[in-house]
């Protein structure tokens, strides 16, 4: 990460914050929605893309962040409630990550699926804490002693936090800790051989990822002014995973690009739908497009938009060679590769 990259990112952040601050409510909403989703995608990519721990509990973790921020915020903790959300969610994330010490790959992914369903169930039934299915109404965020007045101000806050999260995580991935994540992803055996404490590396990844998922949830709660269980169902986990796949696994910039893509696509389809005489079908089409998007991306550009853009750039500049063709698959059955990896 060069100084030039940081300055470029800062300039982009200021640009978008300025646009959002000076535009109407709808555009402000779009920008902060992308920024919030981007923070979540960053946190998920750290876990799946960098550390190789497949999780489907991201939606519920964002929910944990939202509820803890809502409860702390309503109790008058102000900007501190963001931090509370981060810490609480990091601890829950660590708890979910515990089975990862024994289970790997598929079985761990299924255990996180269990965590997702069980957490959302708790959101629904813990009436005194979460107000059940009707949802918890959240007071506006108070920063420096005054409440955040409107959506335009939320844009600035969300963009600022997104930028800081990106900076922090980009820095982390270049430390010993971040490099250890990569080795754990590639092979736990090799990691052990190199003297990396695999359990510790995993625990660190879960804590870090959980912290930012919590921040994402907190911002979600404060901007939407409501924390209700429906918003944190498995669909949110799928959305978030789609973002990092569309953007590119293991790419932080890609996470933000993917978040923008996945957040804005349904909005665009909805706008388009208003011009067509199929009003009742818009939501079905939106879902269908989302499903197709996931499938097509995984088939055609499995390394995500970032790889796609890089290839385009290489072609335009003409400096790089033509992209290396992928070696033809020798085996015809998936299980063969699965067994080779055993």
């Amino acid at each position: 990460m060069t100084t030039r990259q940081i300055l470029l990112a800062l300039a982009l952040a200021i640009l978008f914050a300025a646009i959002g601050y000076n535009s109407g409510r709808f555009w402000a909403y779009l920008i902060y929605a992308v920024a919030i989703a981007g923070i979540g995608a960053l946190s998920l990519n750290l876990l799946i893309g960098f550390c190789g721990q497949i999780t489907f509990a991201q939606g519920a973790l964002i929910g944990v962040g939202a509820y803890s921020a809502a409860i702390a915020g309503n109790a008058g903790w102000g900007g501190f409630s963001l931090l509370v959300a981060g810490v609480v969610t990091a601890l829950v994330s660590l708890l979910i990550g515990l089975p990862a010490l024994r289970l790997r790959g598929l079985y761990f992914a299924i255990s996180t699926l269990a965590a997702q369903f069980i957490l959302v169930y708790f959101f629904k039934i813990l009436q005194p804490l979460t107000n059940g299915v009707s949802g918890l109404v959240v007071k506006p965020l108070t920063l420096f002693g005054r409440p955040v007045a409107n959506d335009q101000e939320y844009v600035v806050i969300c963009i600022a936090i997104l930028f800081l999260s990106w900076l922090f995580l980009a820095r982390i991935t270049r430390t010993d800790m971040g490099r250890a994540f990569l080795v754990v992803r590639e092979s736990e055996l090799v990691a052990r051989g190199m003297g990396i404490d695999v359990s510790r590396a995993k625990a660190q990844a879960f804590l870090l990822s959980g912290f930012f998922a919590g921040i994402c949830g907190a911002l979600f709660a404060f901007t939407s002014r409501l924390a209700n269980p429906e918003a944190f169902e498995i669909a949110l986990s799928v959305d978030q995973t789609a973002m990092i796949i569309v953007g590119g696994l293991g790419s932080l910039t890609g996470s933000i690009v993917g978040a923008a893509f996945v957040t804005l696509l349904p909005e665009a389809i909805e706008r388009l739908g208003e011009f067509l005489p199929v009003a009742g079908l818009v939501s079905a089409f939106r879902e269908m497009a989302f499903g197709l998007l996931i499938i097509l991306f995984l088939l055609l550009e499995p390394r995500g938009l970032v790889a796609f853009v890089r290839r385009l750039a290489a072609r335009w500049s003409g400096k790089a060679k033509a992209p290396a063709k992928r070696a033809p698959a020798k085996t015809s059955n998936r299980a063969v590769t699965a067994q080779d990896g055993r």
């Binding site: 799946i48 497949i54 089975p99 024994r102 289970l103 790997r104 790959g105 598929l106 079985y107 992914a109 299924i110 255990s111 699926l113 269990a114 965590a115 369903f117 069980i118 169930y121 629904k124 039934i125 813990l126 009436q127 005194p128 299915v133 498995i234 799928v238 995973t241 789609a242 796949i245 696994l249 079908l281 939501s283 079905a284 089409f285 939106r286 879902e287 269908m288 989302f290 499903g291 197709l292 998007l293 996931i294 499938i295 995984l298 088939l299 499995p302 698959a329 085996t331 015809s332 059955n333 998936r334 299980a335 063969v336 590769t337 699965a338 067994q339 990896g341 055993r342």
Partner: protein, 304 residues
């Protein structure tokens, strides 16, 4: 008495779940793909059968035709999508099947709408009164059909040459290739069979509880129980299906009210909600901590 009544309805729905679970295990054994979209095939099968019945086909033909169409759909999915993902990471494969689930749900939503539809009466209405316990013909027929088909399928898998090739391909794809078995064709057959079984299962679920998009939830709810049974064991899948049916029936009928009553005593929690949908996951967590390979699975089947 209530317990017996619950057990009967649990066993009936459980037999249908077993049919659907069989397909998940079949695909996993043969190609190592965890198919989250199995519930979508059940839902699609139910809607397709409904459409065929609406066209005026007799029930038997509609069901058979529906199964054939679903087999085609399953085969097409494998050929067009999963076969191109042989070398993809686990997370990509899982996401592709989730994408399929989303797509098929939206597809059915676009065509048949979000509301629950009453499924046409396929089996004669009425019930048997057996010493104070009522068993409707619907439940009886669903149980008979699902169980017969499951057993028939297991026999087929064990005693025919296609079944033998299937087992070879699942056991050791390389060795299977070496002795001249077309492994990728076997994977296609597994997908076709599993989608057809799920399609029938979906149609049966629709005769029991009405036709709606929610049938697709069974894929995700059945999942933990299959893991408990062991992802690589067909018999485990059958038992897991029955277990899930019973678990649901008893939780809904007896456990939830008991817990609610208990909680009302000293908290303000009024309802425990859809506990029956979470209990399998609780079971799963316990299981994964104690015996990750499942009751009937072999050790060392986890994928690295």
């Amino acid at each position: 008495m209530i317990a017996l009544q619950l057990a009967i309805s649990g066993i009936a729905t459980g037999s249908v779940y077993a049919l659907i679970a069989l397909g998940i295990v079949l695909i996993y054994k043969c190609s190592g793909v965890v198919n989250f979209a199995q519930g979508a095939y059940a839902m699609l099968g139910a809607y397709v059968t409904y459409a065929l019945l609406k066209l005026g086909l007799p029930a038997l033909l509609a069901v058979l035709f529906g199964m054939a169409l679903m087999a085609l759909a399953g085969m097409a999915t494998e050929r067009l999508i999963l076969r191109r993902m042989l070398k993809a990471q686990i997370v990509s494969v899982m996401m592709v099947t989730l994408g399929l689930l989303i797509f098929f749900r939206a597809f059915c939503l676009a065509i048949w709408g979000p509301d629950q539809i009453a499924f046409p009466q396929v089996f004669p209405s009425g019930s048997i009164d057996f010493a104070g316990i009522f068993i409707t013909y619907n439940y009886l027929a669903a149980f008979a059909l699902a169980t017969t088909l499951s057993v028939a399928f297991l026999l087929f898998y064990r005693h025919t040459s296609i079944g033998l090739m299937q087992r070879c391909a699942a056991d050791n794809p390389r060795a299977a290739l070496a002795i001249g078995i077309h492994v990728s064709n076997q994977v296609s057959i597994a997908w076709a069979a599993s989608a057809a079984l799920a399609g029938l299962g979906g149609a049966l679920l629709a005769t029991l509880g009405g036709l709606s998009l929610n049938i697709s939830d069974i894929g995700l709810i059945a999942f933990p129980v299959i893991v408990v049974g062991g992802l690589e064991s067909l018999a485990g899948a059958l038992i897991a299906g029955f277990l899930l049916g019973m678990l649901e029936a008893f939780t809904e009928g007896m456990l939830s009210p008991a817990i609610e009553e208990f909680l009302r005593g000293f908290t303000t929690i009024q309802s425990v909600g859809a506990l029956q949908q979470v209990i399998p996951y609780g079971l799963l967590v316990l299981m994964l901590l104690v015996r990750p390979q499942g009751i009937f699975g072999r050790a060392g089947t986890e994928r690295v």
